[in-house]
């Protein structure tokens, strides 16, 4: 391979490996939207919060790594349950602006709390993995990204199976399809809403551990939440496979613009290039690449 194509190849590999991690965050987002039609603007803050929890648990004395990970997941699930009960359930059936604003308010709270309780400095999420990067041809991938890649694949497969085959998953899909009909068929809609949030809590907990290990945990970690919107819009808000496709697209586009465009315009293109792509995509497919088209009646 020539130098140019090597550069290109390593950009693509980086894009894919980071894109899978975006997909992991986006998964938490899609799970909530799929069942409850609530857009969680606090997804980045969820990731940050679980990063803080993981940092606290992993550095606690005598805590085994696996225990800390399970603990993080358990706390996030509990948190999501509580959140659904206290904030989102009263907003059922209210205009979409209300739900968006509630999660924005939640994001503000979550962003304000850590400096008050944990202090402002960046904390590490130490995981017992080596520092030696994986070498794929001319490209290198940090081990945590490789782990994140595998975890995302497992989650993707798991949730796809869950929604297709398991009884609970089918019930969740019924709830997402039409709440009233689902309730008439004897499905406890509110319980499934709580379940959807709990699953989003699991996804957020895992993304918090992975991203926290990669970037360190402080308030800035919540900014990864901003990356999620182009991902889910490109993929379609209610499609799990779409989240992965969107994540990979955004990761690759980001990596390519950072590699080829940034040197000419002075940096920062990777923060908005995905959004440009997203707007173009919205013009042609208003419901995303894999999203369900909604038919409205008066």
């Amino acid at each position: 391979m020539g130098e140019d194509s090597e550069f290109f190849f390593s950009l693509i590999v980086n894009g894919i490996s980071i894109g899978m991690l975006y997909a992991l965050i986006a998964l938490g987002f899609v799970l909530v939207y799929k069942a409850t039609e609530a857009l969680n603007f606090a997804q980045g803050e969820f990731v940050m919060l679980s990063g803080y929890i993981a940092a606290a648990l992993l550095t606690a004395k005598g805590m085994p790594v696996i225990g800390a990970i399970i603990g993080t997941i358990a706390i996030m699930v509990g948190f999501s349950f509580a959140l659904e009960r206290v904030v989102l359930r009263p907003l059922l059936g209210r205009p979409i602006v209300a739900v968006i604003m509630a999660t924005i308010g939640l994001a503000a709270i979550l962003r304000g709390l850590p400096p008050l309780t944990f202090g402002a400095e960046t904390r590490a999420v130490p995981l017992p993995i080596g520092d030696d990067p994986l070498v794929i041809g001319p490209a290198t991938v940090p081990p945590i990204q490789a782990i994140g890649f595998v975890v995302t694949l497992i989650f993707l497969g798991g949730f796809t199976w869950f929604f297709r085959k398991s009884r609970t998953g089918v019930a969740l899909r019924a709830v997402a399809e039409n709440q009233q009909v689902a309730a008439a068929m004897g499905i406890n809609v509110e319980r499934y809403f709580a379940l959807a949030w709990a699953m989003a809590g699991v996804a957020s907990a895992v993304s918090g551990i992975v991203w926290g290990n990669m970037l360190g945990v402080d308030v800035q970690l919540a900014l990864v939440g901003l990356k999620v919107f182009p991902v889910v819009i490109l993929g379609g808000l209610d499609s799990i496979a779409g989240a992965v496709v969107g994540g990979l697209t955004v990761g690759v586009v980001e990596s390519l613009t950072a590699g080829y465009v940034d040197p000419y315009v002075g940096g920062g293109t990777k923060d908005f290039a995905p959004y440009l792509l997203m707007i173009v995509a919205l013009m042609f497919r208003p419901y995303g690449l894999f999203g369900k088209r909604k038919i409205e009646r008066v």
């Binding site: 509630a102 924005i104 304000g112 709390l113 002075g266 908005f272 919205l282 208003p286």
Partner: protein, 355 residues
């Protein structure tokens, strides 16, 4: 506003739509005007006037956003960026061409209106959540462009110093002078909004908010009115940005980041969606909140936090209280301060003979 009528005696639509529902309302409005034009500047000193000035600027922005979100039902998370468009347009015109404020201000508003309408174009095809994210994209892209194009941002640190506004050779240096400057525009904004929402355009907005397909069927050109809503709303935002620029004496993109968009959304939610009075109350509430928190924390916070951490504590407290207020209002009083005010009025309407 404050009057207590004994019943509803309106016999025509014209009287129902009137700006002054009763002859006494004229008196109330005059009294309020006297309060704000004569008494407020006499009573308050420079410091308090500088705070009231901030409230006045916020009122303009909140009114604009409420026209879009509260009346037309189109959400925008990009209003901070629209403000920055107005701010930089005015700052560039004022510094490079030396134009006075009565040219730069409408120019800033118009520029913001054009940009806002462009960002609003996707609203034809997409709505709700997708539109929210599209406007968020607008916010980030505009922010990036201003930050990376030195021709707009004035180069270093992306900020432009502007001279104080002056009228007939009188330069508005003091907060007292700025107060009248800002009050004038806030009043225009309020009256314009009140009139807009009772016009054909305003009622078309409400129809689109309530059911856009139904609105289209009864003959409202949705695309046109959605774009008008975006343009008017961004015009307000642009003017608000210009006012900020003249108030601070500097245009800086950091004053108009995503957080500001969210702050203005909070204003109209706390104040009350789809209400002019609500926008005013919400703007005052949110603009005053950080000052209250700072005062309280300076006096009481010393017991809980070390003095050198106080700056972080105050800004974090602000975020937490801010978020909590949004949620509390959404869950408990969705119609905001405007509704609370109406409840109080209705209580006193028949008081003390409530039966």
């Amino acid at each position: 506003m404050f009057h207590r009528e004994t019943g509803v005696f309106k016999t025509s639509y014209a009287s129902d739509m009137a700006l002054y529902p009763l002859p006494i309302a004229r008196g109330t409005v005059t009294a309020l005007l006297v309060l704000f034009i004569v008494i407020v500047p006499l009573v308050f000193g420079e410091y308090y006037l500088s705070i009231i000035n901030l409230v006045l600027i916020s009122i303009v922005g909140a009114l604009g956003l409420n026209i879009l979100v509260g009346y037309t039902g189109q959400i925008s998370i990009g209003h901070g960026a629209f403000m920055s468009v107005g701010a930089y347009t005015a700052a560039n015109l004022a510094v490079r061409a030396g134009l006075p404020f009565w040219i730069t201000l409408p120019a800033g508003g118009l520029m913001a209106a054009i940009v806002g309408a462009v960002v609003g174009i996707p609203s034809l095809r997409i709505k709700g959540l997708y539109l929210a994210i599209a406007t968020l994209a607008g916010q980030l892209i505009i922010e990036w462009i201003i930050n990376h194009v030195p021709w707009i941002s004035g180069g270093t640190q992306a900020s432009i110093q502007v001279p104080r506004p002056s009228l007939f050779g009188f330069e508005m240096k003091t907060q007292g002078a700025l107060y009248f400057f800002l009050l004038f525009f806030a009043l225009i904004a309020i009256v314009a909004a009140l009139n807009l929402v009772r016009s054909r355009i305003g009622r078309a907005f409400v129809a689109i908010r309530d059911q856009d397909i139904a609105a289209e069927i009864i003959g409202i050109d949705i695309f046109r009115y959605k774009l008008i809503a975006f343009a008017i709303s961004s015009f307000y935002a642009g003017v608000c940005g210009v006012l900020y620029t003249y108030y601070f004496g500097i245009a800086n993109y950091e004053q108009f980041q995503l957080g500001v968009s969210i702050e203005y959304l909070a204003m109209i939610i706390i104040g009350g969606l789809g209400s002019v009075l609500g926008s005013i109350l919400g703007a005052a509430f949110v603009a005053l909140l950080p000052l209250v928190i700072r005062t309280v924390m300076e006096n009481v916070g010393g017991f809980f936090f070390a003095a050198n951490e106080m700056a972080t504590v105050v800004s974090s407290m602000r975020l937490v209280i801010f978020g909590a207020l949004i949620i509390v209002f959404l869950v408990l009083e969705p119609e905001g301060l405007n509704r609370l005010w109406r409840n109080i009025r209705n209580y006193f309407r028949v008081w003390p003979f409530s039966y």
